[in-house]
């Protein structure tokens, strides 16, 4: 039985009459990096805001570290660092002052302030106020705030927004390091699979308030394997289909082309030989490889 850091049971939420979340059962394993994926407006932020108590829960249950959230809110929040949507910074204060006011709340050692600033690549911003920071710097400082009290769980809602490509890679490496060396469980949301597929161990895909997939990245990759297709285009579609049926294959026709599931190289060669031997001209044999992004898009479109 896996040990879950976050679990939601049938989490359902309405804004006015509209259902924005429908029975979400999130299972985030301890020690994992969980990628919470979905297009804009899918319900990612609402789920995270509900989980952290920023929205009043309507239906369902939320557990952190095996404990119900609302009954254990303070002890749970001590172990969580979060960044929800845009950066939350006091613009009239410096980076150190922003961290200092949270250091007072968490009562963590003062040395942590410089440590997390170094971690996120903002070792010395001097007297510059947070309002004068670029979006990327604000995002980094927000991550530093989330890390300040050395949490067991990090919840990051689109943390790479506003970062340049180098910044994205740096944050990705930092999160990997925190997960591997410090054992921090990370829940990271994004609308781009490509952005987080090099980082996550587990994936949850949400669209229109429904969780469409949840599992390990390997499970998702297996789906990718299953989605490989071999495409044939010939001069005689009927004869080709008959020949394929003789080999116990189940072809289908799409846009004038014959589609088969992934085939062994030998089978493709045999089919080709037989088609030629039966006077069928073969114009095209190709293998269509769906990447994870297209599986993700396919999942949210169907």
């Amino acid at each position: 039985m896996p040990d879950y850091c976050i679990q939601t049971n049938n989490l359902t939420h309405h804004f006015l009459q509209q259902e924005v979340l429908h029975e979400i059962n999130l299972n985030v394993e301890t020690g994992s990096i969980y990628g919470f994926l979905g297009p804009n407006g899918a319900g990612k932020t609402t789920t995270l805001r509900l989980a952290l108590g920023l929205l009043k829960k309507q239906r369902g249950a939320i557990y952190f570290f095996g404990l119900p959230f609302h009954e254990n809110r303070i002890s749970i929040l001590k172990k969580i660092g979060s960044l929800i949507e845009s950066p939350s910074l006091y613009g009239h204060l410096t980076a150190k002052e922003n961290l200092s006011l949270l250091q007072k709340v968490y009562q963590c050692p003062k040395e942590r302030i410089q440590h997390v600033l170094n971690l996120v690549g903002l070792p010395d911003t001097g007297n510059k106020k947070a309002s004068q920071f670029s979006l990327g710097m604000k995002q980094r400082l927000s991550i530093a705030i989330a890390l300040l009290h050395n949490p067991a769980l990090l919840i990051l809602d689109e943390p790479t927004n506003g970062l340049d490509p180098n910044g994205i890679i740096e944050v990705r490496e930092l999160l990997k390091k925190l997960n591997q060396e410090d054992g921090i469980t990370i829940l990271i949301s994004s609308h781009l699979l490509a952005e987080i597929e090099k980082l996550v161990t587990h994936v949850g895909i949400i669209n229109q308030g429904r969780l469409l997939f949840q599992g390990t990245l390997d499970d998702l990759k297996n789906r990718q394997q299953l989605s490989l297709q071999t495409v044939f285009e010939t001069s005689d579609q009927e004869k080709t289909l008959r020949l394929m049926s003789d080999h116990n294959l189940s072809p289908r026709v799409e846009n004038g082309k014959i589609i088969l599931p992934s085939l062994a190289r030998e089978t493709i060669a045999t089919l080709n030989q037989q088609l030629v031997a039966n006077d069928v001209l073969v114009y095209e044999i190709s293998v269509v490889k769906n990447d994870l992004e297209s599986i993700f898009i396919d999942m949210i479109n169907h």
């Binding site: 805001r49 952290l52 108590g53 920023l54 929205l55 009043k56 809110r73 303070i74 002890s75 929040l77 001590k78 969580i80 979060s82 929800i84 949507e85 845009s86 950066p87 939350s88 910074l89 006091y90 613009g91 009239h92 204060l93 002052e97 200092s100 006011l101 949270l102 007072k104 709340v105 968490y106 009562q107 705030i145």
Partner: protein, 261 residues
């Protein structure tokens, strides 16, 4: 008092650093004393007689509080209280604050305490300013004696306490409104409306039901009482009552708010 409240209070205090609310307190505290000092320096010929008067300190107190009690103090409280809560809205930090391991009660009361402490700071600065407005002309203008009248410590302390108490309902109501509305104009606009309402109702026999009237009543009571229908009971208790009731309502609205960032 729990430790988390103290830590939260320290954190809230740090948020006011370089804030407009803090500047309002500092500038507001010295504004009237500076004006009084300038007027005295301009009218320096009248100073020797004035400084020899037995009523010197009482007159200075009245002069200093005239614009403060009726206009600057209520407006300053409206602005400072609204600005303190707006720090969270303006910076989009309610969500950050509400994911810290602090109870909602701690957050609510530590913010309120910061406002009360800032008001206390204002009173301290204002009193220092009043004293300096007496001493600076004495130091700068030759022939002006040190005030002959004894310094009325107890009277000043008592009046300060009453003004502070009379501000409490304004603080509570502004705090309630500004915690509920993201738009800064709502609490400030409401504050102006209540203040105008208070001025308009000063001569009404039930004017005391408007909680923004008490600082003006207190000022007029010790001087030109015939200009207002000053209640003949101890309205400071009414101010305390308003403060307690409005704060309780404000707390209930805050903890039951559906969206917390």
């Amino acid at each position: 008092m729990s430790l988390s409240f103290i830590h939260s209070f320290q954190s809230e205090r740090l948020k006011t650093k370089r804030s407009l609310a803090l500047w309002i307190v500092i500038i507001g505290g010295f504004f009237t004393p500076v004006i009084v000092t300038i007027i005295r320096l301009v009218q320096y010929k009248t100073l020797p007689a004035m400084y020899s008067s037995d009523k010197f300190w009482m007159q200075l107190w009245q002069n200093s509080w005239e614009s403060m009690a009726i206009f600057l103090l209520p407006m300053g409280v409206v602005l400072a209280t609204s600005l303190i809560t707006q720090i969270e809205y303006k910076n989009n930090t309610w969500k950050q604050l509400h994911t810290t391991p602090l109870s909602l009660t701690t957050i609510f009361f530590s913010k309120l305490t910061v406002i009360l402490v800032m008001m206390f700071q204002f009173f301290v600065l204002f009193n220092i300013g009043i004293y300096l407005s007496a001493i600076i002309p004495y130091l700068l203008v030759s022939g002006v004696p040190y005030p002959k009248a004894p310094f009325p410590y107890l009277y000043f302390l008592e009046q300060n306490l009453f003004y502070f108490i009379d501000c409490l309902p304004i603080i509570a109501l502004q705090y309630l409104i500004s915690m509920q509305f993201k738009n800064f104009l709502v609490p400030v606009g409401a504050g102006f409306v209540f203040w105008f309402g208070a001025l308009a109702s000063l001569s009404w026999k039930y004017g005391y039901i408007i909680p923004y009237t008490y600082t003006t009543f207190l000022f007029l009571k010790s001087g030109i009482a015939n200009k207002a229908a000053i209640p003949d009971f101890n309205f400071h208790w009414l101010a305390v009552g308003y403060f307690v009731v409005i704060t309780a309502m404000s707390y209930a609205l805050y903890v039951t708010k559906k969206e917390k960032g």
